[in-house]
Symmetry: C2
Subunit: 426 residues, 2 copies
Amino acid sequence: MPVPHLTTALKGPLLELESRIIAAQPQIEHWFRSQWQHHDTPFYGSVDLRNSGFKLAPVDMNLFPGGFNNLNPEFLPLAVQAAQSAVDKVCPEARSLLLIPENHTRNTFYLQNVATLAHIFGQAGLKVRLGSLNPEITEPTELVAANGDKLLLEPLVRQGNRLRLADGFDPCVVLLNNDLSAGIPALLQNLEQALLPPLHAGWAVRRKTHHFRAYDQVCQDFSRLLSIDPWLINPYFAQCSNLDFHSRQGEEELARTVDEMLAKIRVKYAEYGITQDPFVIVKADAGTYGMGIMSVKSAEEVVGLNRKARNKMSVVKEGLEVSEVIVQEGVYTFESINEAVAEPVIYMMDRYVIGGFYRVHTGRGIDENLNAPGMHFVPLSFECPCLPDKAGEPDCPPNRFYAYGVIARLALLASALELEATDPDA
Amino acid sequence: MPVPHLTTALKGPLLELESRIIAAQPQIEHWFRSQWQHHDTPFYGSVDLRNSGFKLAPVDMNLFPGGFNNLNPEFLPLAVQAAQSAVDKVCPEARSLLLIPENHTRNTFYLQNVATLAHIFGQAGLKVRLGSLNPEITEPTELVAANGDKLLLEPLVRQGNRLRLADGFDPCVVLLNNDLSAGIPALLQNLEQALLPPLHAGWAVRRKTHHFRAYDQVCQDFSRLLSIDPWLINPYFAQCSNLDFHSRQGEEELARTVDEMLAKIRVKYAEYGITQDPFVIVKADAGTYGMGIMSVKSAEEVVGLNRKARNKMSVVKEGLEVSEVIVQEGVYTFESINEAVAEPVIYMMDRYVIGGFYRVHTGRGIDENLNAPGMHFVPLSFECPCLPDKAGEPDCPPNRFYAYGVIARLALLASALELEATDPDA
């Protein structure tokens, strides 16, 4: 697989923030080490970042990351080493791992992600097999990924408190790559095997607002460490509940929230001399896959939505109704390559940044969501690892990617806090 | 730095052993994870391997490895990640590291190794400075490595039980890249800072025979796991003490030991249909740098040595007298590139294999020691990481390097046992 060069994507104005991050690298790494002494690292995760040149912030944190197939294959050894560390912490005696992917078996790019994950854990020394929650998978079924890799999906068998496959395969660890949007299946409840990530990391329980509340906390600490305005790395957000897009219930409150947030952003834009129009993103608080999302620049845009827009907003993955949304400050994407908008996604396993890629999309604007249904982005893997080059310019690819890795790890740490706060056994 | 291709170096006969190692990868990785639950991993290390096609074995284990500069720079991120893990275990609160190199400041390739190590720990997020035990370094001294990298060596200052630099730099961790052949300096004794590797890992205390005794033990277990003859991965060895090469004291006993070992090897060669002549290596039990080493094919060769040979054998690094030797089964090197003999060296940090290179030397035979004074080897870094390719031939580079990594980790584990057994505080 050829790895494209990224230089043309790195056109944003030089970030004072990046310089500070590079200069403070020893303090930052020390701070992360201290944090991880007190919080359990999520097993894996990916973070969608936006870089507007004046602001670098996470807009979404995925605890069941797809897209491992988009990472630079040259750096997969980093993922393998991180996987060894992750397994070692959770279950050092593990010999075998059952990977449970999403149910959409027709997305051959997603299947390539599953194959990559299976490969990584195989390289880390585990016997890996794939078990499916999909009721259509009633017998071992071979599927072919976009790149031709073959996968064998097998039906899950619950025996007592253990999850097995039909031939008796009895995994030590069950790894979810399924975000449980449809709820927590009985099959997965009260397992005696190690189940990762925990069930409450799934969208049946998770809320974006929980995450960004935790992220607020993380940013407070980190911004103090770097003596920066936390706003530079943290988008404003607010929650709106009891919405019903069909009956227009809660519309006014939503409009008020949007209005207030736009006002707050305007103050910050004025403070930093930013001339762009502020915008906010409204999205389902429990949801993913870019469904139920709108980008608005004024409160009027959320009032009196037409039927099509209301339908679009009201339902997310697995047909779930949306009654809670997060209203999030929009962060412009000012990275581009060949005039196409590019949004970075950073991947982590255990506490380690293992790589990233850009979602490159030609047909979309800089204030739109790039992770949307039907969206065919071109992945552009990072050409170098997320390690700083202290002799390089603050904005050279290694330093920019290092800064991305730092912000992504802040989101990872926020997820650790979020999972602690929502742990039903705590 | 261009990375040469290695295909021509991989000409040895296909190893049944390599196939077994690849097939048993999940069991092997599980076994290592279990072992590391009970033993502390040495901080770092490198292992000299020999591959004769019929036998793959370590011949030396270095706990103060030089040569990091010879690793493929593309895989340095693996070293950085492993360094983070290593530091995290030993001293998660660490902010700064003092690296103490060897005293030979004129070896510019060694200086490049020191620069690479400093770079790795810098990338891992530590403030790194260099302190010297060399009495000639009385003030901060800039040295230039072979590749032009600049290093600042500074005199050490002992204050109470802490090691510092003159300007007050007070490191959290002191990392030795000096093997203490000259004894343990008072400066390093009873430090309250974390000192790595521990003092008893230095050649003032260490003995090759201690290591290979521990390696015997490791090989017993591992060979049972793989159902192989331990001899395939373990060279015979014996110790001879109370030698005085100058007065020829102990010569007869040495000859007898050599004779017995050659007889044992002959039995094994017959069992496996190997037609080569057995040979043994006689080397100082406490020593390194390829000094005090001879390769012999009959007992007569160690009797009545001429003055030159006796002088060569009697003194190792730092002018120490040799009175104990290890007599070790010689393992042929059947790897070559462009008709030059190639000996693999594998590097590890924490429990991770982070890469390796070949010492390539045109002027030496397949039964000679390749790490000798005045020897100008050409380093040939491994072109891929030491991870298996299960779809590949057992002998393809990734699989061969994986097998090398496995054997190297056995030696690393043996060092862990060795350091436990020789720990003065245990």
